[in-house]
């Protein structure tokens, strides 16, 4: 089962997802014990933060703070009215200084130059990162359904026959192989599938 990321679970717990995402998340979380636990954890944290925020610091003079805030708002309104009384009509204001076409061309050329520089640097950096990246280790896995190996891009899987998967025996070897032993329901024969990582 693919689980949603922890960020999305946090947003879900806070009720901050769009309705469709919230709906799909809700469907997943309802059926997933692990995600329910994560969501519950976020809920606890949220409640704890709210409780802490609700507690007023002792000794705060709320009346004085409220009076100061009110005075500041009134001062702002009066200043705004005074400035508009002295405002010059638009038609009498100095003509707006336009950008000359030479200036615009220069600015455009500068932006293009910057973009090319950034692009070249980014391409080089991504090549360097790709060269530095350690290849993913090859994982061999044994499960009731089959044995497989993958390096993240390529892979192979040997699936079990039509079998009672409950009766399958799965194991791995520390030499890098994974195996599963099945009883084929059709033939009654035993089949043992293995994959080997070199």
């Amino acid at each position: 089962m693919k689980h949603p990321s922890i960020d999305r679970l946090a947003l879900y717990a806070g009720g901050e997802l769009p309705w469709w995402t919230r709906f799909t998340m809700h469907r997943h979380v309802r059926g997933c014990v692990q995600c329910q636990a994560e969501v519950a954890l976020f809920g606890d944290v949220k409640s704890a933060v709210r409780l802490e925020a609700d507690e007023m610091p002792s000794g705060a003079q709320w009346d004085r703070l409220a009076a100061e805030m009110g005075a500041n708002v009134r001062l702002g309104l009066e200043a705004s009215e005074a400035i508009s009384a002295y405002a010059v009509p638009v038609d009498e204001a100095a003509p707006a200084t336009g950008v000359s076409w030479r200036m615009a061309a220069l600015a455009t050329a500068f932006v293009i130059l910057l973009s090319i520089g950034y692009w070249l640097n980014a391409a080089k950096k991504s090549e360097q990162l790709a060269a530095m990246r350690v290849p993913d280790p090859i994982v061999a896995e044994a499960s009731e359904r089959g044995v497989g190996m993958s390096d993240g891009n390529k892979g192979m899987e040997l699936q079990g026959p039509k079998a009672n998967f409950r009766a399958a025996v799965v194991t791995v070897s520390t030499t890098g192989s994974a195996g599963a032993q099945y009883v084929d329901e059709e033939t009654g024969q035993i089949t043992v599938n293995n994959v080997y990582v070199e």
């Binding site: 089962m1 692990q34 040997l158 030499t175």
Partner: protein, 382 residues
């Protein structure tokens, strides 16, 4: 809100995806290479619902091959291993399909199924997508034929010795105590099968195990060194003296053991079974740790491994490992002889629960489940 333009974009993307997928011709995609002097021949091959799909520069292959092999030798075939090679797949793309617990008379056929899924880069068409080679055949006199690239001889021989041990055990029980006692024993085996914890196991030989999709993002799990407990078998020729591994959450890393050969005979190869226990108390067989260096008679050695194992419950829920136990699974001597645990060695209740059933026991239990006690009795009296 979805507008017509957005729907048009989705439709165009869908068409593009469909156009990217194209069927791949599977004729010549599977090649079965048996040596000229092979004691087995291909009687028939059916590719059934196999299909190959090209996606961009890659091929997705879903191969379901039903193969019938014929015993051309003069001896009875007891086991076969086929090597499945998928070129260009990660790390050589090597797999095997083995069929142990067989009893195929000369001239008779037997089926082998190969169900393979793989993703690999598109090839130039010169090479087959999958090659199947004969790695080994074991006969009733324990003689072997094959290239043995996968050490099939050892594994097929161990399976055959286990099969003989278990058939003898059930046959003796039937003759000495009758069908009712046999039935009780088989029902107990069914019960063990049904109650065994169901886990998926992953292994990385070297390096760091990639992060699991369900790993907790909120905490970092510290490694802790855990000492092995040992499940001793009275008849085992090797003593496990000490052992430890590092455990972190659902992972067990770098197991190491001190081993001592109790006998005067030199040992060529031995295999230690590894059982893991989680914090909920469920204990299960998960892995084998081989030691492939020569071990002199009465000699001691240290076994150090760099592999990392990860386990999870089947279905994906996470488990947290708590402790580990080890036991000697099988031994191959330098003189070509083998040691496997006797039924008496396995009579300890914890070992009975942990050691997986041999292929032959699994086959006999399945025969009882499908056809009943009478069929089992007839099979044992053959």
């Amino acid at each position: 809100m979805f507008t017509w333009s957005k729907w048009a974009i989705f439709a165009a993307l869908g068409v593009a995806c469909v156009a990217q997928e194209a069927g791949v011709d599977l004729r010549g995609g599977l090649k079965i290479n048996l040596p000229k002097d092979s004691p087995l021949a291909v009687a028939s091959l059916d590719l059934g619902p196999s299909k190959g799909t090209a996606r961009g520069g890659a091929v997705m292959l879903d191969l379901h091959a039903s193969l019938r092999l014929r015993n051309l030798s003069g001896k009875r075939v007891k086991g076969v291993t086929l090597l499945v090679l998928a070129q260009d797949v990660s790390a050589g793309g090597k797999g095997s399909v083995a069929v142990p617990a067989l009893d195929v008379a000369p001239g008779d056929d037997f089926p082998v199924r190969i169900d393979l899924r793989m993703v690999r880069p598109m090839s130039n068409g010169a090479e087959p997508l999958v090659q199947v080679l004969l790695d080994g055949v074991l006969f009733d006199d324990l003689s072997f034929f094959g290239e043995n690239r996968l050490n099939s001889q050892r594994q097929l021989t161990v399976w055959e010795l286990e099969a003989r041990r278990d058939r003898k055990h059930f046959k003796e029980m039937l003759e000495a105590r009758g069908p009712d006692t046999l039935q009780k024993e088989i029902i107990a085996a069914v019960g063990r099968q049904e109650t065994r914890p169901r886990v998926d196991v992953q292994v990385v030989r070297r390096g760091v195990m990639p992060r699991a999709a369900n790993a907790p993002a909120t905490n970092y799990e510290m490694d802790k060194e855990v000492q092995f407990s040992f499940l001793r078998m009275p008849g085992a020729p090797v003593d496990l003296m000490a052992g430890a591994a590092r455990i972190a959450g659902d992972q067990a890393k770098s197991p190491q053991f001190e081993i001592r050969n109790r006998e005067a005979k030199a040992i060529k190869h031995l295999e230690i079974g590894l059982a893991l226990k989680d914090t909920n108390g469920q204990e299960f067989f998960a892995a084998t740790v081989p030691y492939a260096e020569p071990l002199a008679g009465k000699g001691s050695a240290a076994l150090r491994d760099s592999a990392t194992l990860r386990v999870r419950n089947t279905g994906g829920t996470r488990l947290v490992l708590d402790s580990m136990a080890g036991f000697v699974n099988n031994v191959e001597y330098a003189d070509g002889g083998y040691w496997i645990p006797s039924r008496a060695d396995l009579s300890d209740p914890r070992l009975t629960r942990l050691v997986p059933p041999s292929p032959e026991e699994q086959r006999l239990v399945n025969l009882y489940r499908r056809k009943g006690l009478q069929a089992l009795v007839e099979e044992l009296r053959k």
